[in-house]
């Protein structure tokens, strides 16, 4: 949404050119979501709506704490509540704040056909530039986390911006500011990783042997990371993917076949042109005309 200077882009969708690279010293940022400290108050959801001026349509109670039930063009973050029975038979209430993970290697950006509709800033934030979006939904195919949502009203795709407008001026994202328990932290990726290490150690000392940081390498790491009590089973957190990566189908479609297709077309055109200037047109000659007339005349005589 927010439109920073082009100099801050390190990745731009649908371009064959290298983005400006002179600014190469910007610190990468990250949001750290400590699931073990989340109380499910949804303050982050409210803050997101407040800051970004989002007012999704009021829905109906569906028998779940999830409200609304899914991400939407105007729902950029969402608490997902999961009940999990652990090995001791105790119930654990796992509440995960879902939203864009701001992948280092963003599948949405890779799949996007519209130049500059998806960009990645030097600080790592992946942002959708609505004015360039054509509403095709390719970003949904590229995303390994099922995050972007295309609006049926304006045919633009939407997702969390990591409050890029706030971050640019030195503020933390709205959700971070609103969190009452410190479950959502924001800072440089290095600091957040270090802090997560301390939290993981603490959780381990409390008996969560498999506690760990979720920063999946399949997408080059993410700029939104989770501290999970059970990092060996991300799926129990409302279907967090085990090993997210850009689909091979998307990789092939957006990789190899693009140059091969253009080459194939160019080759066909070149072959046709070569044929034209060497062999040339296949034209009817007087002999053909003569044979044809003979055939028609003899048939007429026969029938007469």
């Amino acid at each position: 949404m927010s439109d920073l200077q082009a100099q801050d882009f390190i990745r731009i969708s649908a371009t064959t050119l290298t983005p400006p690279t002179a600014r190469n010293h910007e610190q990468e940022v990250a949001k750290l979501i400590d699931v073990s400290r989340c109380i499910g108050c949804k303050a982050c959801q409210s803050a997101c709506m407040e800051w970004n001026n989002l007012r999704p349509e009021v829905g109906h109670f569906e028998g779940s704490y999830d409200n609304p039930m899914d991400l939407e063009p105007s729902v950029w973050t969402l608490m997902r509540f999961a009940e999990w029975e652990n090995e001791k038979g105790d119930l654990e209430w796992l509440i995960r704040k879902d939203g864009c993970m701001h992948c280092e290697d963003p599948g949405c950006l890779k799949a996007c056909p519209a130049p500059g509709a998806i960009v990645q800033y030097a600080n790592g934030i992946v942002d959708f530039i609505s004015e360039n979006c054509i509403g095709c939904g390719y970003c949904e195919k590229g995303c390994p986390f099922n995050i972007p949502r295309v609006s049926k009203v304006d045919h633009k795709s939407y997702k969390c911006t990591l409050c890029s407008d706030r971050v640019t001026v030195g503020l933390e994202p709205a959700c971070v500011k609103a969190c009452p328990t410190g479950a959502i932290m924001f800072g440089s990726k290095a600091d957040m990783t270090e802090w997560a290490g301390e939290r993981v150690d603490e959780l381990k000392s409390r008996g969560f042997e498999n506690a760990g940081l979720y920063d999946p390498p399949g997408v080059g790491g993410t700029h939104v990371m989770y501290v999970l009590q059970h990092a060996d089973k991300p799926a129990i957190y409302a279907g967090l993917p085990e090993d997210p990566h850009i689909s091979e189908f998307v990789g092939f479609w957006k990789g190899l076949i693009k140059p091969v297709a253009l080459a194939g077309m160019a080759f066909t055109a070149a072959a046709a042109f070569l044929h034209w200037i060497t062999v040339g047109p296949n034209t009817v000659d007087a002999e053909d005309d003569h044979h044809a007339e003979e055939l028609i005349r003899s048939a007429k005589e026969k029938s007469a």
Binding site: K141, W253, A261, G264, A292, I296
Partner: protein, 223 residues
């Protein structure tokens, strides 16, 4: 419809309208599709009023082409049924390519090359149509899973490339074989053209005193 004296009808007015409706749609689909396929060609979206319009109009044109091509299938399928003659013709393709057709087998209404284009498109057009429906975000995006759409988009792209290459061959063949373009614009060919390129077809027309395009139609050969 009147045709010049002594000519043979190659394509009826209905066939020509059907063909050019398909052709027009195909060209528009290629331009709008390539705009969304390769960043180097995104500028083509300007022809359609920008990216949003390109994305919006592409599937509708696809629907028209699908129906239109069904019309071509109905009109042409019978004369495109393959036979042993096609194998013999293809065996001599190296002679055909260099315009030396002395001992190339006689060809009926369509040669094996034309049949390959016809059946190739008859396969690709429906595949493109149905894979296209699955990724028509506005109306059908919710009916299939995203994983399915990843696969259908890939198939759609591959088939589109195949169709474009087939189409380029088709267009060049029409330029190469002089008189073919007129056959699909004004609808007629000279008897000499029919003798040279579709001799079996001409023989059958003569047998039934037909002026074309199919034996039995227009019993006014020679007028």
């Amino acid at each position: 419809m009147t045709y010049p004296k002594g000519t043979i009808v190659r394509a009826s007015a209905l066939t020509r309208i059907n063909h050019w409706l398909t052709a027009g749609c195909f060209v528009l689909l290629v331009l709008s599709g390539l705009a969304m396929f390769h960043p180097l060609l995104f500028w083509l979206s300007n022809l359609f009023g920008g990216g949003q319009w390109t994305r919006a109009v592409h599937p509708w044109i696809g629907c028209v082409l699908f129906v239109s091509y069904l019309g071509l299938i109905i009109q042409f399928w019978r004369d495109n049924l393959p036979g042993m003659g096609d194998v013999r013709w293809l065996a001599k393709i190296n002679r055909v390519i260099v315009n030396d057709e002395e001992d190339v087998p006689e060809v009926s209404r369509f040669n094996a090359g034309q049949k390959l284009v016809f059946w190739g498109m008859a396969f690709l057009v429906p595949v493109l149509f149905f894979t296209g429906l699955t990724v028509w975000e506005v109306y059908f995006g919710a009916y299939t899973s995203i994983e399915t759409q990843r696969v259908t988009l890939l198939i759609h792209s591959l088939c589109a490339i195949g169709a474009i290459i087939l189409w380029m061959i088709h267009v060049y063949a029409a330029i190469w074989v002089s008189g073919s373009m007129r056959a699909m614009t004004q609808g007629y060919v000279t008897p000499g053209w029919a003798w040279r390129h579709h001799r079996l077809w001409l023989r059958r027309l003569v047998e039934t005193n037909s002026r074309g395009p199919t034996p039995g139609a227009n019993h006014d050969l020679g007028r």
